[in-house]
């Protein structure tokens, strides 16, 4: 039993964070450079657990929370899951389809540059072809486009671990998003002065930041535990991953809101970064959401 990062994980985490700082900073989330996807593939993040690389989910969750922290493309989640479960059928970027009931149109997130979309449902993953003649519309998250499409031919997997895998990656993104908001708020609270002091000196602001730290730490611990439980193919893995997603989603949203309050007027502006975390957090609520009923089921 060891829930700290091992040396290899720590090295990968640091390398991811360093690369993101230089090439994919959060502040640029709404207009990523054209060649970015190629770089992400080169870095190996699109297929960390795919046949060939075969890293464990714990390591993947650590890396994906770093990616989530800079609001990396949503398509990375679906692409990484697709490479693990449909390695033979795909090549390149895979967009993320939200669960829908036939024949209602599918909503596909981050469709740019993708030919197929991966749909998550609690019961499994399915891969759908995407039409060539599609229009991309904005979403609330300025980093993410969407398209709508009709139901097409699909391949699926019934492996129970597959939807858990995607849910875990989405949880990692949420934890990263919560971390980002916390750090942004704490940094601003040190920098910004009012009444001749840094605003973080005032308990009212300090405690908003402390609560952000609590939420992020709680969610991150559960994320790591959940990733390990998936690696161990624990019978409880579904429970633990759902718990991680729920806590991650809450942390992302609550921290996203708190971060704006800490920033005051600046936090409401479009040019400052806080709203990017908030809007990403809202989008994440709809991606592989945790099933509350599952969280009530008897532990194994």
């Amino acid at each position: 039993m060891d829930l700290t990062l091992n040396d290899e994980q720590e090295a990968l985490r640091t390398a991811t964070a360093d690369w993101c700082r230089d090439h994919m900073p959060l502040e640029g989330a709404r207009s990523r450079p054209a060649g970015l996807w190629g770089d992400l593939e080169t870095m190996g993040w699109t297929g960390m657990t795919a046949p060939g690389l075969d890293l464990d989910h714990a390591t993947e969750a650590v890396v994906f929370s770093e990616l989530g922290r800079v609001l990396a493309p949503i398509g990375l989640i679906s692409t990484a899951a697709a490479h693990r479960w449909f390695a033979d059928s795909i090549d390149g970027k895979v967009a993320l389809a939200l669960p829908a009931d036939e024949p209602r149109d599918m909503r596909v997130l981050d469709p740019g540059g993708a030919n197929v979309a991966l749909m998550w449902t609690a019961g499994g993953l399915r891969l759908f072809d995407m039409p060539n003649d599609r229009t991309h519309a904005p979403t609330i998250d300025p980093s993410t486009d969407q398209s709508r499409q009709e139901w097409t031919a699909s391949v699926g997997t019934k492996d129970a671990a597959a939807p858990l895998h995607l849910q875990l990656l989405a949880a990692a993104y949420a934890v990263g998003c919560a971390d980002a908001a916390r750090d942004m708020a704490a940094d601003y609270a040190k920098l910004r002065h009012q009444f001749d002091r840094p605003i973080g000196w005032f308990q009212a602001l300090k405690h908003i930041c402390s609560d952000m730290a609590v939420r992020a730490a709680v969610a991150r611990s559960q994320l790591h535990y959940a990733a390990c439980s998936l690696d161990a193919r624990d019978t409880d893995a579904a429970f633990h991953i759902a718990a991680a997603k729920r806590l991650g989603d809450q942390a992302a949203l609550d921290n996203g809101r708190a971060n704006i309050q800490v920033h005051g007027g600046i936090g409401m502006t479009d040019e400052a970064a806080p709203h990017l975390c908030l809007k990403r957090a809202h989008l994440l609520q709809f991606i592989a959401p945790a099933d509350a009923a599952l969280l009530l089921e008897d532990a194994a």
Partner: protein
């Protein structure tokens, strides 16, 4: 204690209702700023001509000179009739005008008040600065006295309608080296004066309705100072006190309309069957009712004593936080369609995003809690 209205007041309410019913424009207020200004001015003029502008403003300056209760009745009926937001006239009607009534010279009042009421002069506010938000006394914009003029340098921020305004209520430091609340003055600044630059700021909801204003040797006649040089803090506070009087009527009526709509929506889409949703809606219906009761209580206090009671600061905080809860519920009831929000959309998601301002602008929720603890409960000052 009594929640009834007099025969005269009830008749007045009917007059308001009848006129509004016949005159509220069918078209919505334009979203585009350039179109909106024309709309706002025309609508304000129509209100003035029909005798609905400045109901409790002095008759000498174009008002009706009626009671504050009648003003409340008008505002309630106005909101109930879904009459358009007064938009660009907001600062003049709700801040600038009332401040002038309380503090300005006869000459200043005679010139400005009728123009505000007629929608001829648009006002904006100039209080906050990049370094002076919650700490309003940290103002650094300075006005050097040269002859009979102030020469102004500095900048203001979060100024709504700066790009269309004719006048600004500008609080600035007129005594060199003065600290905090001392040495500030409240002046009427001509927004068309040379040396003023306006930089629009885009909100996270997409609008650019506020701006940063820069002053580069802007000249303001000393005769435009209101309430005397060095009395700016006192003058500015008198506006805030007004805000805490009838300033909440519109928000309170709006909250009532919002909760009614939310209940209707939740019934229609079936989400009301979720006990969490139903419970939150019940809670907010009770809170909205209480907000009206508090507002009435506060108005009664103003009628009785001439000023709002100490609980006015409670109304301010409660209104802001209740408003945010309503907006969050509205977004929750939308479900996945939330994702479709894009800059420029005029819907519940936009209201939600804009609503973050309500616990920030005009004193953060944290500052409001300090004020309540200190003024209402007598706890020691933290700052």
């Amino acid at each position: 204690m009594d929640i009834g209205f007099s025969v005269e007041e009830t008749r007045f309410r009917e007059e308001c209702r009848d006129w509004l019913h016949a005159n509220v424009p069918a078209e919505k207020r334009p979203l585009d700023a350039a179109d909106a200004i024309g709309f706002d001015k025309a609508w304000q003029r129509r209100l003035f001509d029909a005798g609905w502008a400045g109901i409790n403003w002095p008759a000498d300056y174009g008002g009706r000179g009626l009671s504050i209760v009648q003003q409340v009745i008008w505002l309630e009926e106005y909101a109930k009739a879904h009459a358009p937001w007064i938009g660009a006239n907001f600062v003049g009607i709700n801040h600038g005008g009332p401040t002038l009534i309380l503090n300005a010279s006869e000459e200043q009042k005679a010139y400005h008040l009728p123009r505000i009421l007629k929608g001829e002069a648009i006002w904006c506010q100039g209080f906050s600065e990049p370094g002076a938000g919650s700490d309003l006394a940290g103002i650094k914009t300075r006005g050097r006295i040269e002859g009979d003029e102030l020469v102004v340098n500095g900048s203001k921020i979060w100024t709504s309608f700066a790009h269309v305004a004719d006048w600004q209520e500008l609080v600035l430091r007129t005594e060199e080296g003065s600290q905090r609340h001392a040495g500030l003055s409240w002046a009427i600044c001509d927004m068309h004066a040379p040396g003023i630059t306006v930089r629009p700021i885009r909100k996270m909801s997409g609008q650019t309705e506020f701006a940063e204003v820069f002053y580069d040797d802007v000249r303001i006649p000393l005769s435009n100072v209101v309430g005397g040089l060095g009395n700016g803090w006192k003058v500015a506070m008198s506006t805030l006190s007004f805000e805490r009087g009838t300033g909440f009527i519109a928000e309170q009526v709006k909250a009532g309309q919002e909760i009614a709509e939310l209940v209707t929506t939740a019934r229609a889409n079936g989400m009301i069957k979720d006990d969490r949703i139903a419970d939150q809606l019940s809670q907010m219906r009770a809170e909205v009712a209480a907000l009206r009761a508090m507002t009435y209580r506060n108005i009664s206090e103003v009628v009785r004593t001439g000023q709002p009671g100490p609980e006015a600061s409670v109304i301010r905080l409660f209104t802001a936080e209740l408003g945010q809860r309503l907006e969050r519920m509205a977004v929750l009831l939308i479900g996945e369609d939330l994702i479709d929000f894009a800059y420029g959309d005029d819907n519940a998601v936009q209201d939600y995003l804009r609503g973050f301002a309500s616990t920030i602008a005009g004193g953060t929720a944290q500052i409001q809690r300090d004020i309540i603890g200190e003024r209402l409960l007598g706890l020691p000052k933290s700052r």
